[in-house]
């Protein structure tokens, strides 16, 4: 069952935590701090979390958002977990390439493709 929050939806599907963004529009400076807290909370009680973040609704990311995802990635890794990102719009993905953060994150075209890489 979905756990509604103001910015993300967190669901557990066959042992994998699926995170979707509820905001139709953007992931920007005005809400990124709250999103960061919600992301960290989503794995706070988990050991070896398997997490897939679905970007279908995200149309814009600021540098603050990249920083938030990097902190989330560190948190997941610190719990011996795995984080995957998927379904990024081309312009959002382009930002990861410009910043070379596509080398840090495991990014996939679809939920199914991301799921296949989890071990």
């Amino acid at each position: 069952m979905a756990k509604p929050s103001s910015h993300i939806s967190v669901r557990k599907i066959d042992g994998v935590t699926r995170i979707d963004f509820l905001d139709r529009n953007i992931l920007d400076e005005l809400n990124i701090h709250q999103i960061g807290e919600e992301l960290l909370k989503s794995v706070e009680s988990e050991f070896r979390p398997k997490v897939i973040v679905v970007f279908t609704n995200v149309e814009h990311m600021s540098s603050a958002a990249y920083g938030t995802f990097m902190k989330f990635n560190e948190r997941v890794k610190s719990r011996d977990g795995q984080l995957r990102l998927c379904e990024l719009k081309p312009r959002v993905y382009e930002g990861f390439v410009i910043t070379k953060l596509n080398r840090i994150f495991s990014i996939h075209e679809s939920w199914a493709a991301a799921l296949d890489t989890l071990t």
């Binding site: 814009h60 070379k100 080398r103």
Partner: protein, 141 residues
């Protein structure tokens, strides 16, 4: 034959980040649309404006609520020009470490200026570094 949209110009003193950002983004988006800018251009300009204004408040003014950010924009069907000036001491953009270098890649901050440079056609920091001028050329070569 359609009449070209008139030159858009605005000049704002922004004294609070959230309301300032919303005001500017809404006005600029409307002006860009009126002058026929495509989605890709609007995406680029929106991102650069957000980074520049946030930097002005957070890093330039150090979130000092008594300080403001001055914003000017001029938009026509050829290009969109912006000036963002904070009330801080300025900085030397050459001193910002390259966030794409291997040693810096995992540092969570420091990508705003890089994104501005990537998405805008021309970017200039005016000494002492508290004023940013940036331009987006609609018709790129």
């Amino acid at each position: 034959m359609t009449t070209p949209a008139p030159l858009f110009h605005c000049d704002h003193t922004l004294c609070e980040l959230r309301t300032g950002l919303e005001l500017v983004q809404d006005e600029v988006a409307a002006a860009l649309a009126a002058h026929g800018y495509e989605d890709g251009a609007m995406f680029a300009i929106r991102l650069a404006l957000e980074e520049a204004i946030v930097n002005g408040f957070r890093h330039g003014n150090r979130s000092d609520p008594t300080k403001c950010v001055f914003f000017r924009a001029t938009i026509d069907s050829v290009s969109a020009e912006f000036e963002i000036e904070d009330q801080g001491p300025g900085f030397d953009p050459r001193m910002i470490p390259d966030p794409t270098e291997d040693d810096n890649l995992e540092i969570p901050s420091g990508r705003g200026v890089m994104l501005i440079k990537a998405y805008m056609t021309e970017v200039e920091y005016v000494r002492p570094g508290n004023k940013l001028r940036m331009r987006y050329a609609k018709l790129r070569a």
